[in-house]
Symmetry: C2
DNA sequence: TTGTAAGCGTTATCAA
DNA sequence: TTGATAACGCTTACAA
């Protein structure tokens, strides 16, 4: 339907290669032929067929982004950052939702490779699967964002969840709490594991052993926060503080606490994790550990482009620090 | 780097076309040669080059999504829905953030067309620009989601903001309010205009003239809600109810109200619009007009695929209804 | 059932 | 400065 280089060449009685050179602003075309070509191209609103171009050049101007769910507060913010950097580099981003399903993850990887995508960012909070690892080891440009791999060291940008959780727990300890519950994400989730580790280390520093009955592993949802708190209430000796492993869980916790008629923070203190918009809206405002979401996205993207453009990358694994923000819930 | 059909053909001593037929599960290949080919393909982890395939087939399996900002609560939810439907149809989605900048919009359109994208969804809340209209009229599959075009009727899915705003305002009137302020988005924004219209119609039904000093047009942000309320307070006769044209504005309004020490809803009532997560978190829970976000995305995508697959579409312009959800802020 | 060859719209090499 | 020509990897008539 649309006009091609061949058409332009025919109309002007020049060869396709000359047209190509003119369009791509390459040397080797006379100034006047070049102008004639560009004028005609403009007049007919010529658009290069990027499929053909990429096929011929053996490259592409897209990167892939594989993530669990674009509608989450956290991931959409990170995505935004990646998009911004990609645009600056003249690249587009293919966003792929996996719902943390490994099958879909694999399917997307194949699809992205089939499209000769320049590189992929894996954003998530689980362990990276084998397919990803092999891909990374094969030299294909990939960056892990907020995901880790046990043995192999692939280029990554992660947030120091350990220290963040440590600070959060320590903050509660300093406030005098001794029975601090942790309502966490799934047990096999790396982020959840790190937050648990930080929690435990803080207790240790205060010479407290952690009580398994105070640890709940469920999901990252509001509902789980709500249910989790109810479960904790049934303990013989219920906790006086809750460390929720993300803000949404904390929201559920706070709702359950209020429903029970307890006072926050006087009777029960709550800390969240992430610093999404909800922390400043909920009553009382939530003490939380701020995650540098935009930075996570931006730095991952920058790292990926370094890889794509074959630049040296300074640090293979970049660790961003999270920061405790004290509000009224503690 | 990766293996191609040519390689497979050479290894097996068959022709490329036979390989192609086998890979694509087309008739005209003997069962045993087919198996031999498929086995080899599996063994070498053959991935079809989709650039080449799409170039040859003159089609693609991507659709484009152009929107203002993926990190917004509203758009990320709509995007999620579009992704879900696209995946079901075997398509991928290219997400393009424009920040409502027309230049970037145009740039994206060209890029998407250059990649021979199968169709585009324009999601936003402004008027569609000329480039979009021309594209639509040229027969290219496009769907407008939550955007309108003045004269031309392009396939669209929109939310009935007018009625939603009408209901919200009427609800306040029924509660006995006479001085109802509207803190709205930008004046040139279509969504904002429709919400204003519904607001005015409701007043009319109650034989009230609208007072221009009670109308504030700013931005869709929390900050604007906060500032807007402060401005309203300075009026000789301040409003007793605020209709905020989206939830984020409402959040700002509520914060300002609380800061001023007023009671909600006893002294000042507040209604929002959208029903994002914040409405159930803020204190008091926000009465709002629920937007069918997921439906907006899903139906837009379905419509686009009807267009792409050349099916008849039942209604060219589909109007989704929004629904008033009464909570404690009124 | 299989192969040949042209074509998709570019780019890139090598001559002219 | 230009133009043939092959190549990118795949699809698809058309022949055999």
């Amino acid at each position: 339907m649309s006009i091609t280089m061949k058409d332009i060449a025919a109309k002007l009685g020049v060869s396709e290669s000359t047209v190509s050179r003119a369009i791509n602003n390459k040397p080797g075309v006379g100034e006047d032929t070049k102008q004639k070509i560009l004028n005609l191209a403009r007049r007919y609103n010529y658009q290069p067929n990027l499929l053909a171009r990429n096929l011929a050049r053996q490259e592409s101007n897209m990167i892939g982004l594989i993530l669990p769910d674009i509608s989450s507060l956290f991931y959409s913010e990170v995505t935004r950052a990646i998009q911004d950097i990609a645009t600056k580099h003249g690249y587009q981003v293919m966003v792929c939702n996996t719902d943390s399903d490994e099958k879909r993850e694999s399917a997307y990887i194949e699809w992205l490779q089939g499209n000769k995508i320049a590189g992929i960012i894996f954003l998530g909070n689980g362990l990276a699967n084998n397919k990803i690892i092999n891909l990374g080891l094969s030299g294909y440009p990939i960056v892990l964002a907020n995901r880790l791999v046990e043995e192999v060291m692939l280029p990554s940008v992660i947030i120091d969840n350990n220290t963040g959780a440590f600070e959060a727990t320590k903050h509660l300890l300093e406030r005098g709490h001794k029975r601090i519950a942790l309502i966490n994400g799934p047990k096999d989730n790396l982020t959840a594991q790190n937050r648990f580790r930080g929690y435990r280390e803080a207790l240790k520093e205060y010479n407290l052993d952690y009580d398994p009955s105070l640890i709940i592993n469920k999901d990252w949802s509001r509902e789980c926060g709500y249910q989790g708190f109810l479960e904790l209430l049934n303990l013989e000796e219920p906790p006086t503080a809750i460390f929720a492993a993300n803000d949404l869980i904390a929201v559920g916790v706070i709702e359950a606490i209020k429903m029970g008629g307890y006072l926050i923070p006087e009777e029960i203190a709550v800390v969240g994790f992430e610093d999404t918009i909800v922390t400043s809206i909920i009553e009382p405002p939530l003490t939380t550990v701020a995650q540098p979401m935009y930075e996570l996205g931006a730095n991952s993207a920058k790292k990926l482009f370094s890889l794509i453009e074959d630049e040296d990358i300074e640090e293979n694994i970049e660790i961003l620090t999270s920061k405790l923000i004290v509000r009224k819930s503690t």
